[in-house]
Symmetry: C2
């Protein structure tokens, strides 16, 4: 049945064949092993069209035939499966204290996951580009040894990224107007694949949508709990970026007009009242980026020991966070809001207060069905999502050049 609320999106005019290739690819991804006849029956495409599309995808080594045949009356059918092995999608993340790299194949299977420390808060943009390029070259080298075609590289950055991959503002990296996509492509001598840059929350949301255990939720918001607090917004199964790509900037919405001053100059922003700085305001107000993780571990230790001051702080953080989540729930009504970053470790103490506040402030009954959960993907979510973005791109019909 077609849901009258979220029916099919009409395809762009020029793109029907690409869309149909993607329909076949996605069908096999979800239903393999399956036959050409299965694809035709389920997609409404006629058999000749399906045969032509499948031939194209086999030629590109995105599908392959198996020796299996379907057990049924009539001529046995050759079965198809996804053939992701010749490909690699690479995701990188720049953060205030680390760089990460992830590579996955076409099926989403992880090929490598690396993390190295990096002084993001003090490095210049040029130093960052050099460090990211060096890490990318090491990953490319590895993929080359495995004879994989690289689908692209996406870099996750904690900041405003415009539609061209230029970083407009990344306050916690101290960047302004850095053409990271262009500079990185140059440093890699214009490789023959896309080099993209995107906001870290956006990419983590993609990772949760593709790999997270959220019951197929098609409306999902991811909240980063790093030095900054940002949101990645998925509605009707796709990332929503707004007009200039700046959607999801929830960190500087005012939660408490009488709250503390925020680094952005405003007062009582969500980031100021519920970010990691607020968590550590009593125990480690001057923590450097590299010290954040051990300091959060110390807060967890205190909370586990029942330290009253720590518990009170975390309850207050949870309530403030819940006010931000309630804004998201009222405006977007997602099935799930996923807390990432440092919130994951703090979830046992932060979540209950946040959930109470969400229920209290939600206009729809029962919080409009919005569940609030901690991410199970850990700190690698943004880099994993950076790789996932390249797979999404293929699922949407932008197939890699082949030959």
């Amino acid at each position: 049945m077609i849901n009258t609320h979220t029916g099919p999106q009409p395809a762009d005019f020029a793109d029907v064949r690409a869309t149909n290739l993607a329909v076949v690819l996605r069908f096999v991804r979800e239903n393999a092993p399956c036959s050409r006849a299965d694809i035709a029956a389920s997609t409404g495409l006629n058999k000749a069209t399906v045969s032509s599309l499948v031939a194209d995808l086999i030629d590109r080594r995105m599908l392959r035939e198996t020796g299996l045949t379907e057990n049924r009356v009539g001529r046995p059918a050759t079965m198809l499966v996804l053939d992701g092995s010749p490909y690699a999608a690479i995701g990188l993340e720049v953060n205030v204290d680390y760089l990460t790299a992830v590579a996955v194949d076409l099926a989403g299977t992880e090929l490598l996951s690396w993390r190295r420390s990096f002084p993001g808060a003090t490095a210049t943009p040029n130093q960052a580009v050099a460090a990211v390029a060096a890490l990318a070259r090491r990953v490319l080298n590895r993929m080359g040894k495995e004879a994989r075609q690289v689908l692209g590289i996406t870099v996750a950055v904690p900041g405003l990224v415009d539609v061209d991959g230029s970083v407009r503002i990344a306050p916690n990296l101290g960047w302004r107007d850095v053409d990271l996509a262009g500079d990185l492509a140059k440093a890699l001598r214009d490789p023959g694949f896309p080099v993209l840059v995107d906001n870290d929350a956006n990419l983590a949301a993609l990772a949760e949508h593709r790999f997270g255990a959220h019951g197929g939720a098609e409306n999902l918001v991811y909240l980063t709990g790093e030095v900054g607090v940002g949101a990645g917004v998925i509605l009707d199964g796709r990332l929503r970026r707004g007009g200039l790509g700046f959607a999801g900037e929830i960190g500087h919405i005012q939660i408490d007009p009488s709250g503390p001053e925020c680094r952005c100059g405003r007062r009582g922003c969500l980031e100021a009242v519920a970010g990691i700085g607020a968590v550590l305001k009593d125990t480690a107000p001057d923590a450097t980026p590299a010290e954040l993780e051990p300091e959060v571990d110390e807060v967890v230790r205190l909370a586990e020991g029942g330290d009253a001051a720590t518990l009170a702080t975390l309850t207050a953080i949870g309530a403030n966070l819940g006010r931000g989540v309630a804004i998201i729930a009222n405006v977007l009504n997602p099935e799930v809001v996923v807390l990432g970053g440092y919130y994951v470790a703090l979830a046992p103490w932060v979540l209950p207060a946040a959930q109470d506040e969400l229920a209290l402030r939600s206009f729809a009954p029962d919080s409009g069905g919005t569940r609030l959960v901690a991410s199970a993907l850990g700190y690698g979510a943004a880099a994993l999502g950076a790789a996932a973005r390249l797979l999404d791109s293929i699922d949407s019909g932008r197939l890699p050049a082949h030959g």
Copy 2:
């Protein structure tokens, strides 16, 4: 060029033919008169497929051939245009003090626009269903005389509407759990067309997207300025409803923790600090729904005369409204936020303060490109959008039954 950020949405598996019919219909809507060859060249569909799709649409009397031929080398081509005349889409609106009815043809041309007073705030749900059904029957009667096939009826309601067309809460109508879609279909003796119910802000947003002058903005938020304040959210060209259909409930987000109590029981909600009640709090705090329009006219008269107290009130309303708009801009980054309802008349005094606050509170530079404007569609926006929703449904491939 395919924009890597907002590329094509893969079609639902079962729906490729319907989607392709819709692609052809939309192409002709935007490019008529055009030939079958034009359609094939621009959509990537092969010519045999286009001929089959066009034949189907002609059979349904959605397209027709004209005597025109394209001036070009080779065999002259028969040109196609939209044939909307045999159809009508009907939109109704229930509000606290009126009912409206609009009908448009397939091309969006207005066939009728009626408004009648109705005691929405005091009528029971049963009385409302009877009144809406009576109005619907009059419209159906008229369309029958014009020998038009009715594509459907959509009713706009100021409240939470679930995906089945049941009104969960409509506080200003005093409704809770009213199955308006079901009751209206019954009152109309189960007509052979869809009877839908939707939130008024959602539908007004659809009207602005289809008929408003917003330069093709694909990310647009409409704010109702009626007794309640709600939002309709269009992102990437489609209405976004969230998981249960409750997105856009911005009216009860807390703007000012020390603000006045809201009718919802919370404090300092956007509706309480920037809704029509706040506008009239000094001049007509006890206005009945029927008195709102003349009372707003009186406020406009005072403002035009330079009355200091009125100007101060409207500036404060504008600032509060701007805080709500800033939340929308930060979270969704739309190209445009459209103010509807009573805000239209008050725009000369409310808009400047709202724009200042938006600029101040927007994290992205230059308000992230979000423009704040007053609607040019007037009070009929929701009913017009109710009709537009049926056209959108057709553009998405849900063609009416024919025979």
